[in-house]
Symmetry: C2
Subunit: 81 residues, 2 copies
């Protein structure tokens, strides 16, 4: 099953990479851009017998490795593939 994981910096956490990209976009002429946040987009395949099992594994992977829950939020989607 295909798992898509979206990891984003938490709202209340400074995102220096997002700031830098926002400045770059503005200097390229995109003046109407704001609130740029940079996160990670992880895709992976899990051999699982059911979507529920894949979801449970994905949640554990996020907690243990893919996201840092102190400074990042995550969500994921599971697709039969």
């Amino acid at each position: 099953m295909l798992v898509k994981v979206f990891v984003t910096p938490r709202r209340d956490i400074l995102d220096p990479q997002g700031r830098a990209v926002e400045q770059s976009l503005k200097s390229l002429g995109f003046k109407n851009v704001s609130d740029v946040r940079i996160g990670k987009y992880v895709t992976l395949n899990v051999e699982a017998s059911s979507p529920e099992q894949a979801r449970a594994e994905a949640a554990r992977m996020c907690e243990q490795l893919l996201a840092n829950p102190v400074i990042e939020d995550y969500r994921f989607e599971v697709e039969n593939s």
Copy 2:
């Protein structure tokens, strides 16, 4: 308008970060994981008069800065917000 951009390494391009994460997941006990790919997930706000205008701007931002079309693919979604 809220723009969500998904940038992924192209299929035919090696993804060393994905490889490293896959190895780490396996050593954590997730033996049934494969094909891990790590991309970027960028969210931003665009002041635009229509979704079409926001989409056109987002495409230009991706081409010019957010993605490297030589080694990365991108797609994006525009939401009224």
